[in-house]
Symmetry: C2
Subunit: 300 residues, 2 copies
């Protein structure tokens, strides 16, 4: 097998991608306490909230207050999801190190998710990227449904490449590639990476897997063999996509840590502290999260 | 990446390894109906029960009646767990195509599990293997804790090799290698297969993973890259090991099918029929099984 990287950077997206699909309201103070816990796990990147229209994602309507009140760890890069210039303005006021812009590689998913065609989305994101870069922020381009779309089926690596290229040309520092509905298998990951790694250095690529069909850890293992060193995780497997039927469960950060540490890759993250952060939010939500790790430590 | 095999053989072990750890009694008629459903999924091997002392595993105390009454599909190999000559006698009366003998690669786990040292276990199994072969039955040697033991920690590939070699020398047709507590990561699988494949043809090796930490699918993917073509699965992720703390959850046969079919490997099994068999036993047990696939189709 190919060599594995020595070190991997995890971005914890639970406070954004995890919570955005939860019906249970988590009070702002408790969100802040949770993000502060995550900040002390050793994780180096946290996506703390989303500055989309609060009517669209009521679970994150307190993004501005959360951004102002979380205790910032100087070793952590704090980012937030930013849909447009208005969102960027609020995010900059609340404080961000990085802005995450987002669109879909699927025309139909993009339309359903952000109510614009792909062509109409580019200029909006390009303006946000330009402005965020102008004030010294990092920008990540999130591209969703990079393997399959719940509305139009298979997405080709070439379709993904086109969107990625536009975002990078506009100034995005890196790309987060989302298996939004959790359908990919390792051969799909190989096909996509074979194309994208011809155009972008591996350091620019972040893989964002959902564990809907239990494939996420295998997909991460395959990505590692291609030299990918950056992954999104959501503690406890919290979250999904509100616009994609059946799309439950980001990959659990704890499962990712178990894999990475097990195969000898460093992350700088304490598994114990990350488990505690998972138990904390599981307790607040009052339901069992779809997490192998949390089930394991609860039974042990 | 290395080439993947074109075809894989799954053995469904839910009726044995799955049920043996369930407290809920499944009435014999319903077990038989369930095994008959499994027989019609296209699966080619089913381990239908265990002929250990019923006091040890009361959930399977009806092994003899189950064996006599299941409707045999001529395309399916039916096997059962057989601990000793008495068990073999009952199994032969009830009807088996194959006998599964079992021991542990870990001295302490073997002691706790079957109350004998490894050295004391060999002659018992050798007698069973010899007799089963003499009457024309296939024999599989199950070796548990091939990666980690809950009592004595890491098990080396050389320790596993020694047990495997003894079983093969005694006449075992194949070997089922169990990650009994579900702790292995892909690099562990690589290390074990690098050793075992120097001594045994890949067709002799069956990999038996538990998904306790969510690593099973990644471990199967790694095994496939080594040319392994035989895996155990338990529909719905049913089961565990009653002697190993925290050892919940065989890998779900449906998750395995999703992976295999997704990467283009044939199994001959209908995913829809296997899901129905999973929903049937989930319903009988009256609790949600730890299955990504069943959760997915229930939410869809």
């Amino acid at each position: 097998m190919r060599n594995l990287p020595r070190e991997v950077i995890i971005k914890e997206v639970g406070p954004r991608d995890g919570l955005q699909n939860e019906k249970e309201w988590i009070p702002t103070d408790q969100k802040i306490a949770w993000i502060n816990m995550l900040s002390n796990t050793g994780v180096r990147e946290i996506e703390y909230s989303s500055f989309v229209n609060p009517k669209m994602i009521p679970a994150l309507k307190d993004a501005r207050e959360v951004g102002r009140k979380i205790k910032r760890n100087p070793n952590v890069v704090y980012s937030a999801l930013v849909p447009n210039m208005k969102g960027l303005e609020f995010a900059l006021e609340a404080g961000i190190d990085g802005a995450s812009v987002f669109m879909s590689a699927s025309e139909m998913h993009n339309q359903k998710n952000i109510n614009k065609s792909i062509a109409e989305t580019y200029p909006v994101l390009e303006e946000v990227i330009k402005e965020a870069k102008a004030v010294g922020k990092r920008v990540t381009g999130y591209v969703s449904t990079v393997f399959d779309c719940p509305y139009q089926g298979k997405i080709t690596p070439e379709q993904v490449l086109e969107v990625c290229q536009r975002l990078v040309d506009a100034g995005a520092d890196d790309l987060s590639l989302g298996d939004t509905i959790g359908t990919a298998v390792p051969t799909d990951v190989e096909k996509l990476l074979e194309v994208l790694l011809k155009h972008f250095p591996k350091e620019k690529l972040i893989l964002h897997f959902h564990d809907t069909r239990g494939m996420a850890i295998a997909n991460i293992m395959t990505s590692l063999h291609y030299g990918v060193t950056r992954f999104d995780g959501s503690v406890g497997g919290l979250g999904g996509c509100p616009y994609a039927k059946g799309a439950t469960g980001n990959v659990d950060t704890n499962d990712v840590l178990y894999l990475l540490h097990g195969v000898g890759i460093q992350t700088g993250i304490s598994e114990r502290k990350m488990q505690q952060a998972g138990l904390y939010i599981q307790n607040l939500l009052g339901k069992l999260l779809p997490s192998r790790s949390l089930a394991y430590i609860s039974n042990a």
